[in-house]
């Protein structure tokens, strides 16, 4: 076990360096000089050269890259070109907790609702209840957030606000009420996915021989389902938890943007338009590390749950 973790952590280092190199090279070769973008038409050679020097952009690309790697080793992701006197560390540190909180809540809710919904369907396969449930879950899974958000907002405005009922804030961050709409939107997709995954995996497990044996032994159905079947049926669900969290955190830029939430996903997108390379690289490294780490955690959880993997 320790060896596996060690190997994975080592590969994490390798993955991160490959990613920094790729983002660096792509950024270096992409059209759009960050300083020139800031200056626009105010072409002032003195200012241009001064700023290039300040940000170390006047050095050859390999020196720039080595400087970046050197910073990375010291956990310093560099300084934003765009936000005055702000380090990428600070920027990510302020956005990450917000995104984690939001993504974590959404994931927790999807699990709490999605797993029971999946079991509910699996126990009455092809009944009208199963079909209705499947349809609902498929809808939730398929509806893009930029469609769901205006629908929720319209409901909030026309049904609640205009009738003088207590309504939810349309956007913002800081109070518990600000959570509701974004969490609902983020939960919807993951919930649909987890419910469908639980259903199919549960159905598969319920057809296994050992379930038949358990039934034959005369065990109570409740015990069969929750002790014997569920434990194995959840394996695929556990596989997706890690990556889901990573994506909920870093990939929720639409939700963060539309609800004006100061998270990390949106920062990444905005920094691309502004050629704020240190921020782009910082968020990419963060996302990559999260995915690798989450996959590692998934594997560990897997070995704990499935003795066959441990043996192998």
């Amino acid at each position: 076990m320790g060896r596996i973790i060690g190997q994975r952590l080592l590969s994490l280092v390798f993955v991160i360096f490959s990613i920094t190199f790729l983002t660096f090279i792509v950024g270096y070769l992409a059209p759009g000089d960050p300083i020139q973008i800031m200056l626009g038409v105010r072409r002032d050679p003195t200012t241009y050269n001064n700023l290039r020097h300040q940000y170390g952009l006047d050095q050859p690309w390999y020196v720039q890259y080595l400087n970046y790697v050197n910073g990375l080793v010291h956990l310093d992701l560099g300084k934003s070109y765009r936000y005055q006197n702000k380090s990428v560390n600070e920027i990510l540190a302020s956005g990450l907790p917000v995104s984690l909180l939001l993504g974590g809540t959404a994931l927790l809710l999807s699990l709490l609702l999605g797993i029971p919904a999946g079991i509910f369907s699996a126990l009455r396969p092809n009944s009208w209840l199963d079909r209705a449930n499947l349809f609902l879950m498929l809808t939730l899974f398929s509806i893009p957030s930029f469609v769901l958000i205006p629908i929720l907002r319209a409901l909030n405005y026309f049904v609640l606000y205009q009738n003088g009922l207590p309504s939810l804030p349309a956007a913002g961050w800081g109070q518990p009420a600000h959570w509701v709409l974004p969490v609902v939107v983020l939960t919807a997709a993951t919930l649909g996915y987890i419910a469908r995954l639980t259903r199919s995996s549960m159905l598969e497990v319920l057809g296994e021989d050992y379930i038949r044996t358990a039934k034959g032994k005369g065990l109570k159905p409740r015990r069969i389902i929750y002790v014997h079947a569920l434990r194995n049926a959840l394996l695929p669900v556990i596989t997706v938890i890690g990556p889901s969290l990573a994506f909920l955190v870093t990939g929720s830029f639409v939700v963060e943007n539309l609800f004006a939430i100061p998270g990390v996903g949106y920062l990444a997108v905005q920094s691309i338009g502004q050629r704020d390379y240190p921020v782009i690289q910082g968020t990419t490294v963060l996302l990559a590390s999260m995915i690798v780490l989450m996959n590692l955690l998934t594997d560990i959880a897997y070995t704990l749950l499935d003795p066959r993997i441990r043996a192998a």
Binding site: P31, L39, G40, R43, Y83, A170, G172, L258, P262, G273
Partner: protein, 581 residues
């Protein structure tokens, strides 16, 4: 020419504050909103709402108006960003920063609602005979929000700091290029510009290298604003988290990536601001701002750069909250004059005369723009003198193309129009493509580029025209209210902003004469007018339209005036926000 509207450093023209300050007891100021229709040269009438302050003499026994109730809040969304790039006046990076900077800091002079340069930190000034030396009298008793006195030395130090390389300002060296010695400071060869002299505590002298009639207007841009150097020394890079200056407000709290909260500057020279708290939430998406506005979360939304979403305009344009203003900006087509086929005047004229701008503005853009045939936007200083534009005339356009030697035996080559992907550009470019096809029989390819890439391509066009774009859709917005900012800054043959390298010796001669003219503003504007006419005839630009932008202001808010550049607060003591329980 990416969208740089940095600034008409203007704003918040507290112009009238002055008046309020000088008001003797027994006189009452009554703000009224009047609508002043102005006919401008662009065959269109723009309605400019302006707040004027009417003096009324009350009964002798009456006391001055009571200090306004302090318990009011104004929530004003800063649209289009999820964080301010900074609050350092030395480095105002975008219009959103400038909005906040102008609430917190002040300079020597500022602009009033009519775009006149009026006193701010300097109570008066004189200009030398040769027009190159400005002597400012600093307002006696001027203080920073923390009570520290502000003297001529403070201003000199602030300006020098903005220029020093360590400050890493994007705009200072450019904006102050005419100050004697500024270049040396920017190059790191000196720490103080030789042209900035502190005569005594109350007297500051600034010398320019040439006669620069628009110099005072340039001083309204934040880079010359007074900054609290003692705070910067004590707090280092993080000083802006608690920033204050000589403006009406100071930072109470900057919740990064969320909002800026301001409280009144107790030492503001023009009197205690009436609204006790201004909140500036950062909202990237205009639709989100609209949703917040209509559920009572905002008092003001929209700006020139990020107006009310056009899809929402029909549902709000009849409400009292709705205001629409023509921007001090012009969207235009620029041509690469160093490369065939647009090095040919007749070709450029043919393209200019084959575009139906009225249909473009009214149908394609649903009235969110006004058609224009000239370089200065309507209402801008100098635009009072008319220009004869190249009007829409498909037949004349075809004749021009024939004159250029193109016809059945020599078909016009395929050309590519490049534009940055933002706002309505896609629709505009498609319409233009159609127009040139229908009216001129010319096939135009469209090349949409992401904004940063577009900007890079413009730069290439400027530096190496032979490798540059053929023609491009661009926009220019005012930095300061002087025709120089549009006419000569854009089109003088040696201007760093002349991306397309349009050249006309006669234009250059007139333009340079106007740029250094020491006589009356009227005479100078007439020189610009002649130059502008040459630029229009020679198609230095193909001006398309002046964007109109929409903002929403709750009816209980008063004292905020939408202008072509920004929302302006002429008098902070007369501002009213949302009443607090």
């Amino acid at each position: 020419m990416r969208r740089s509207f940095p600034v008409l450093g203007s704003l918040f023209l507290l112009g009238f504050l002055l008046m309020a300050c000088a008001t003797p007891p027994g006189t009452q100021l009554v703000p009224q909103t009047v609508v002043v229709p102005q006919t401008v040269a662009v065959q269109q009438t723009v309605v400019v709402p302006q707040t004027v302050v009417v003096r009324e003499t009350a009964q002798p026994a009456a006391t001055p108006p009571p200090a306004p109730v302090g318990n009011q809040v104004l929530i004003w969304s800063v649209d289009g960003v999820n964080e301010l790039p900074g609050l350092d006046p030395a480095n105002p990076q975008n219009a959103q920063s400038v909005l906040a900077i102008n609430l917190i800091f002040g300079g020597l002079v500022k602009l009033d609602g009519q775009l006149n340069v009026v006193p701010d930190g300097a109570e008066s000034w004189t200009t030398s005979q040769d027009g190159k030396t400005y002597t400012f009298k600093i307002r006696p008793g001027l203080k920073f929000a923390d009570g520290t006195p502000v003297t001529a030395q403070t201003f000199a130090d602030s300006i020098n700091r903005a220029l020093q390389p360590a400050t890493a300002s994007y705009g200072a060296a450019f904006q102050l290029q005419h100050v004697v010695g500024a270049r040396d400071v920017a190059d790191g060869k000196a720490t103080a510009a030789s042209g900035i002299k502190v005569v005594d505590d109350q007297t500051l002298q600034i010398t320019t290298d040439d006669t620069v009639p628009y110099f005072l207007a340039q001083l309204t841009y934040p880079v010359t604003f007074a900054v609290p150097l003692h705070l910067i020394q004590a707090q280092g890079d993080k000083w802006t988290d608690k920033a204050f200056g000589t403006g009406p407000y100071r930072v109470k709290e900057w919740v990064h990536n969320q909002k800026l909260v301001l409280e009144p500057n107790p030492n503001y020279w023009a009197g205690q601001p009436s609204v006790s708290e201004i909140q500036l939430p950062f909202i990237q998406d205009s639709e989100t701002a609209y949703q917040l506005y209509r559920t009572g979360g905002l008092d003001i939304m929209g700006s020139q750069q990020n107006p009310v979403p056009s899809a929402r305009v029909p549902e709000v344009n009849s409400s009292p909250d709705f205001h629409q203003v023509a921007a001090f900006a012009v969207r235009f087509i620029g041509f690469n004059n160093k490369k065939a086929p647009f090095d040919n005047l007749n070709v450029r004229r043919a393209f200019a005369m084959s575009v139906d701008k009225v249909t473009l503005a009214e149908r394609v853009l649903n009235g969110a723009a006004g058609p224009t045939d000239r370089i200065l936007p309507p209402g801008f200083p100098g635009s009072q003198y008319p220009i004869k534009g190249l009007s829409f005339d498909p037949q004349a356009a075809k004749d021009e193309l024939a004159k250029a030697g193109y016809g059945a035996d020599n078909p016009f080559p395929q050309v590519t129009l490049t534009y940055g992907v933002e706002g309505d550009n896609e629709r505009v470019a498609t319409f233009l493509q159609q127009q040139w096809n229908d009216n001129l029989g010319v096939r135009v390819n469209l090349q949409p580029l992401e904004l940063g890439t577009f900007s890079e391509n413009l730069n290439t066009t400027f530096l190496t025209p032979e490798n540059g774009l053929q023609f491009y859709l661009s926009i220019w917005g005012a930095d300061y209210p002087d025709p120089q900012n549009f006419v000569t800054l854009q089109l003088l043959s040696n201007s760093p902003n002349n991306n397309g390298h349009w050249e006309n010796p006669e234009f250059d001669a007139l333009g340079k004469q106007a740029d250094t003219f020491t006589g009356s503003a009227e005479e100078r504007f007439k020189l610009y007018n002649q130059a502008e006419q040459l630029a229009v005839d020679g198609v230095g630009w193909l001006p398309l339209f002046v964007p109109r932008f929409s903002v929403l202001i709750k009816p209980y808010v008063s004292g905020v005036v939408p202008t072509g550049q920004y929302l302006v607060i002429p008098d902070f003591t007369a501002l009213r926000g949302r009443p607090q329980p």
